[in-house]
C-alpha cells in the first residue's frame, strides 16, 4: 500500500514520517472505536456493552 501510494503520487516519505502517519491513523481509529464502545449513547451499543462499561470501574455510564 505504501509503495503504491508513493509510486502514484511520486512522493517518498521517510520511514519515520511514515510511522507517524500510520500511527496517527491507527490511534484515531482506536480512539473512535473506544468512544463508540465505551461512551456512545446509541441504545444498541450502550445496551450491548453496558455491563462491560460498569465492569471497568472507571468508565462512566448512566
Amino acid at each position: 500500500m505504501e509503495k503504491t501510494v508513493a509510486s502514484r503520487l511520486g512522493i517518498a516519505v521517510s520511514e519515520r514520517i511514515s510511522f507517524l502517519i500510520k500511527s496517527g491513523i491507527f490511534l484515531s481509529v482506536c480512539g473512535a472505536t473506544l468512544f463508540f464502545a465505551l461512551a456512545a449513547s446509541y441504545p444498541a451499543v450502550h445496551d450491548t456493552l453496558h455491563n462491560a462499561r460498569h465492569a471497568l470501574a472507571v468508565v462512566p455510564c448512566h
Binding site: M1, E15, F26, R53
Partner: protein
C-alpha cells in the same frame, strides 16, 4: 469578688453557653453494618444498616425518631466511578421511628468511595443528638482486575502495531483490528403490572438519575380512628434483581415518605405492604422507569484519553523494540 467564687463562675458560664450540646451528649449513637464496613462493595448485595441510640446509662432509647441523610461519595480528582451522576448527591433522606432504640434499613451502595451518614435523633422526652458518620466502600477487586487486563490489552495492541509500522515490512500490513470489547447483553426484565391503589396509595415522583425523588406511601383516609400501620417498603432493581433499599415493619402514622436517589437508569419495582391491626395487609406496587442521564464529558474524556495514551505508549515501545533488535543482531566490524 473573691478567687474562691471564680471556678463557680466558670461552671455557671459553661452550663449556660453549652447547655444544649450537653443534652445532646446524653445520647449515644452507634452505627453498624452487616456485613462489616471493610467487606462492603458497590452494587453488590444490599447491606443491613443499623443505628442504635442509647442514653448515658447505656439503655436503648424507648421512643423517638431518627432523621437519616445519606450522601454519596464526592467525585474523584481525575477518574470518575462508573456512575458519575450519583457522586456527591443525596442518596437517601428519611425519618425512621426508633424501635427499642434501633432503626434498621437495607441499602445498596452504588459506587466506591466515602459515604457520609448524617443522623439526627429526637427522643420522646425532647432530647436531641446529631452525629455525622463517614465510612468508605472499596471497589470490587474483580473490576480492578478487569481494568488492568483491558489496559494491558490496549498496550499490547499498540505494541504490536508499533512493531508492524516500523521498518521495511510496514507497508505490507493493513491496520490491525481495534480492540475486541466484550460485553454482556442486558437482560430485559418483564414489566410489572401496577396494582390498583386500593386502601393505600404509593406515590413516586418521576425519577431521574442523580436527583432524589419523593417516594410516599399513605393510607386512604377511610374515617378510621387508628391509622397507624407497620410499613414494609422494598425497592428492587429489576434488571439486576437486587434490592437497593428496604425498610421492614416500621411504625408509621398512616403515612410515610422519603427522598430516594435511584442510582441507575433502569426499571425499579417499589413495593409497599402496610399491616394494620385487625385488617388484611395492604399491598401496593409500582414499577417505574428511571430516566438515565448521559455522563458529562468531564467524566468520559479522562478515561478515554488514558486508554488512547496506553495504545500510544505501546506503539512507542513496539517501535523501540523493533529498531533495537537489528542493532543488537548486527555483527561487529573490526
Amino acid at each position: 469578688m473573691s478567687l474562691k467564687n471564680l471556678p463557680a463562675c466558670f461552671i455557671l458560664v459553661s452550663v449556660t453557653l453549652f447547655g444544649s450540646s450537653l443534652s445532646a451528649e446524653e445520647l449515644n449513637v452507634y452505627f453498624k453494618t452487616t456485613p462489616r464496613i471493610e467487606l462492603l462493595r458497590p452494587f453488590a448485595d444490599p447491606i443491613d444498616l443499623s443505628l442504635l441510640i442509647t442514653g448515658v446509662e447505656g439503655r436503648p432509647v424507648k421512643q423517638g425518631t431518627v432523621a437519616i441523610r445519606l450522601e454519596a461519595p464526592r467525585p474523584g480528582r481525575f477518574f470518575s466511578t462508573d456512575m458519575p451522576l450519583v457522586e456527591g448527591t443525596l442518596l437517601n433522606e428519611m425519618q425512621l421511628p426508633l424501635r427499642q432504640g434501633r432503626a434498621n434499613w437495607k441499602q445498596l451502595f452504588p459506587i466506591r468511595g466515602e459515604y457520609r451518614l448524617m443522623v439526627d435523633v429526637v427522643t420522646a422526652d425532647g432530647s436531641k443528638a446529631s452525629k455525622v458518620l463517614s465510612f468508605a466502600v472499596r471497589e470490587n477487586r474483580q473490576k480492578w482486575l478487569a481494568l488492568g487486563a483491558f489496559s494491558a490489552g490496549l498496550f499490547i495492541l499498540g505494541f504490536v502495531a508499533g512493531r508492524v509500522f516500523t521498518g521495511a515490512r510496514a507497508g505490507e500490513v493493513a491496520l490491525i483490528a481495534a480492540a475486541v470489547l466484550l460485553g454482556g447483553s442486558a437482560a430485559i426484565s418483564n414489566a410489572q403490572q401496577n396494582t390498583p391503589a386500593g386502601p393505600a396509595i404509593l406515590e413516586i415522583e418521576p425519577a431521574t438519575v442523580g436527583k432524589p425523588s419523593l417516594v410516599r406511601w399513605k393510607l386512604v383516609n377511610d374515617g378510621a380512628a387508628d391509622r397507624s400501620a407497620a410499613l414494609t417498603l422494598t425497592i428492587t432493581h429489576l434488571e439486576k434483581q437486587k434490592v437497593v433499599f428496604a425498610v421492614e415493619k416500621i411504625a408509621v402514622p398512616g403515612e410515610w415518605s422519603m427522598k430516594f436517589n435511584f442510582p441507575d437508569g433502569a426499571e425499579y419495582r417499589v413495593a409497599a405492604v402496610g399491616t394494620i391491626s385487625g385488617r388484611t395487609p395492604v399491598r401496593t406496587e409500582e414499577v417505574i422507569a428511571v430516566t438515565g442521564v448521559e455522563p458529562p464529558l468531564g467524566a468520559t474524556a479522562p478515561v478515554l484519553s488514558c486508554f488512547v495514551a496506553l495504545i500510544a505508549a505501546g506503539l512507542g515501545v513496539g517501535r523501540w523494540t523493533k529498531r533495537r533488535a537489528p542493532a543488537l543482531s548486527r555483527p561487529l566490524v573490526s
